[in-house]
């Protein structure tokens, strides 16, 4: 009898302690592709969230509650994302999602996340249905910004007027390719060849040779990962001594390796945080410095770009919670729409009731690899 009494008392105490802890914690769910094609970006996203949570927790958390980020690996697959989202809603009872770049996974979960009345902060593009978009906020720059930054550079800094597009077959890359075709005329450029590749291709010389044969003087590469290094090496192997390669935004290590191969013929799209030494004093530099103060000690050798975006999303969330004075999902959604223009480490975010894609001004610079580091291409 005595033993039963003590066990009951212990269980009651544990339950009460757990309940008190839950009330003191602000749980944020994050569906990220820690393996699979999105691994590089989504690991950075996860780590950016963790660093931001640490920084905010140091200052007392959000509304006095300690932030706890719960991550579920979706393996870059929508099916796994759905399972993870459901678990975080039912078991973990998160207040909001701040998820990675697997757009298909975020799309697949958007309907029931909306029904649960939980906002989704996303590294990816917005879900496609209007109702779902009311609950989602994208921290991704509109794809046209990356294209425009490269076209502008070619127009203003080179004599090249014919370009080729080299793209992978993902939906996002296809969308960018379409924009590349549309926007070329605005910059006085002509797209003379469009070639596709697969991210695991060991060789792209055929595609690059065709762009060259069509008169393309520059390759607009759309797609991320090591394929950029392969493309740079293939350009060199083909002896295309005048061809430029302009890469999508990516991890700095990729830029460094491709830059080592092609030298001053390799350019890339970069947010200011990837080129911090070039920043002039002002709010943007302050935001970058605030982020790097926490990022660099923990990850001195890692590229900060995608983590900076995750950091910014958490800072926007902190501001939304201040406005909402609540961690209720609906209140946070409404408050996010009222957050005034926020100058972040990656870009400036302007959310409103009608504007759920936060980046409205092109933040991108064109960078190159010179004297052993990534610098702004003048």
């Amino acid at each position: 009898m005595n033993v039963r009494y003590w066990l009951l008392a212990l269980a009651t105490c544990t339950a009460l302690a757990g309940s008190a802890q839950a009330e003191d914690t602000f749980k944020i769910g994050s569906s990220v592709g820690l393996t699979g094609y999105a691994a590089v970006i989504d690991r950075a996203w996860r780590d950016g969230l963790a660093v931001a949570a640490d920084a905010l927790n140091e200052k007392g958390g959000i509304l006095g509650k300690k932030i706890e980020v719960i991550t579920e690996d979706n393996k870059s697959q929508p099916q796994d994302a759905v399972v993870g989202y459901r678990k975080m809603i039912s078991s973990d009872q998160v207040s909001l999602f701040d998820s990675g770049c697997v757009s298909a996974g975020n799309f697949a979960a958007a309907a029931f996340v909306m029904q649960a009345k939980l906002p989704m902060y996303l590294c990816s593009i917005l879900p496609q249905r209007d109702k779902e978009q009311e609950w989602a906020f994208s921290f991704l720059a509109p794809p046209k910004f990356e294209i425009e930054a490269r076209y502008r550079y070619i127009k203003e800094k080179t004599d090249i007027r014919k370009v080729g597009i080299l793209y992978d077959p993902t939906p996002y890359a296809l969308m960018m390719k379409g924009l590349g075709e549309q926007l070329a005329k605005d910059f006085g450029l002509e797209v003379v060849a469009q070639e596709t590749y697969k991210p695991d291709d060991a060789d792209m010389t055929v595609q690059l040779g065709r762009i060259n044969a069509a008169g393309g003087g520059a390759v607009i590469k759309i797609g991320q990962g090591g394929s950029t290094v392969t493309a740079a090496k293939n350009i060199k192997q083909l002896g295309l001594d005048k061809m430029l390669l302009l890469s999508s935004n990516d991890d700095g290590s990729i830029f460094q390796q491709a830059g080592q191969v092609l030298g001053d013929r390799f350019f890339f799209v970069a947010p200011p945080v990837q080129l911090p030494k070039q920043l002039k004093p002002g709010p943007a530099k302050d935001a970058v410095d605030a982020f790097l103060k926490y990022w660099k000690p923990k990850y001195p050798d890692r590229d900060p770009a995608n983590s900076a975006r995750a950091w910014d999303s958490m800072m926007v969330l902190a501001k939304a919670a201040e406005i909402a004075k609540s961690t209720d999902g609906t209140a946070l959604r409404d408050a996010t729409q009222k957050v005034p223009s926020y100058v972040g480490a990656y870009a400036t975010f302007n959310f409103s009731e009608k504007q759920h894609v936060g980046i409205t001004e092109n933040p991108f610079l064109i960078g190159k690899f010179a004297t052993g580091e990534l610098v702004v291409a003048e």
């Binding site: 596709t196 060991a202 060789d203 055929v206 090591g226 290094v229 083909l238 991890d251």
Partner: protein
């Protein structure tokens, strides 16, 4: 309509990639002949070859030749570990070949994850063995690394031929491939032969990885496509026939390159797999085993 230069250029590049597939295919054959197992972890040896060599070169600053000489035995040891830790215990416990083959697939995933945790997810590469180039013949460009791939590939084929025909160990491996039980009755240490087969196969994968990485990049997940294409190469050539695997790899590499020229990159694998289906339909034992013969029971 693609130009003649495009076709010639694609053939040149297809030969380079195809030779790598061929080396991976030979790796499949060596293990299959010694044990009857299809080692689906073959692709990770290619990845490990590139990763270890890059680490020795870039992180530790070791000269290229030393890095290469160290990388090959290091990766070969990974093959030995796989045989000792996974394949041999399963065989001793009477596991079916299917179960062992599945275990090699699990080993591939495990090695990839260990590599990811150890080396990180950042793609890596290193410089071509000979700087400069390419060599231009008309409008067709041939990168210097391709000569290294061709030269080393030819040398390896010669060495393998000498090994299998002129050495006792090589002959013992061939005896195992023909009939393992009879070989054991004749006093050939079959278990040791399997160990040698895994080490040799891993070393071949490592050499392929060392050779191909300067033309592209390596990362924890690059092994799978090489493994799949090496497997296809081995089947096209007639599974178990090392020469056939090499020829199958060359054919596959050229075919994929031509498919990109004629149909686009999206059809590269469609063309390769369609070709594989045709080969299996008319040559069940592979192209080098004769027309219409039924599959040999193993």
């Amino acid at each position: 309509m693609p130009s003649l230069v495009e076709f010639l250029q694609s053939i040149v590049n297809g030969v380079g990639v195809g030779l790598i597939y061929g080396l991976v295919g030979i790796g499949f054959c060596v293990i299959y002949n010694a044990s009857g197992i299809v080692n689906f972890a073959q692709g990770v040896f290619v990845m490990l070859g590139g990763m270890v060599c890059e680490t020795l070169l870039s992180q530790l600053g070791i000269p290229l030749i030393v890095a290469v000489v160290l990388t090959i035995p290091l990766v070969a040891i990974s093959g030995i570990v796989m045989e000792l830790a996974i394949v041999r215990p399963m065989m001793h416990r009477g596991a079916t070949l299917f179960a062992i083959i599945l275990a090699t697939l699990a080993a591939q995933i495990m090695i990839e994850r260990i590599t990811l945790l150890t080396f990180g997810d950042r793609p890596r590469t290193y410089h071509e063995f000979t700087t400069g180039g390419p060599l231009k013949i008309g409008d067709v460009a041939i990168g210097y690394q391709l000569f290294w791939i061709l030269g080393c590939g030819a040398l390896l084929v010669l060495l393998l031929w000498l090994f299998f025909t002129r050495t006792r160990t090589g002959r013992a491996l061939r005896a195992c491939s023909q009939n393992r039980e009879a070989a054991q009755l004749l006093g050939i240490p079959v278990a040791r032969m399997m160990l040698i087969a895994f080490a040799l196969s891993a070393a071949l994968g490592a050499i392929a990885g060392i050779l191909v990485t300067p033309t592209q990049y390596t990362a924890y997940n690059v092994g799978t496509p090489f493994g799949v294409n090496g497997f296809i190469a081995a089947i096209i050539g007639g599974f178990g026939r090392a020469g056939g695997a090499l020829a199958g790899g060359l054919l596959l590499g050229v075919l994929q390159a031509l498919a990109i020229v004629a149909l686009g990159a999206g059809f590269k694998n469609v063309a390769a797999l369609s070709f594989l289906l045709v080969v299996l339909l008319f040559f069940p034992n592979g192209l080098f085993a004769g027309f219409g013969k039924s599959a040999k029971a193993h």
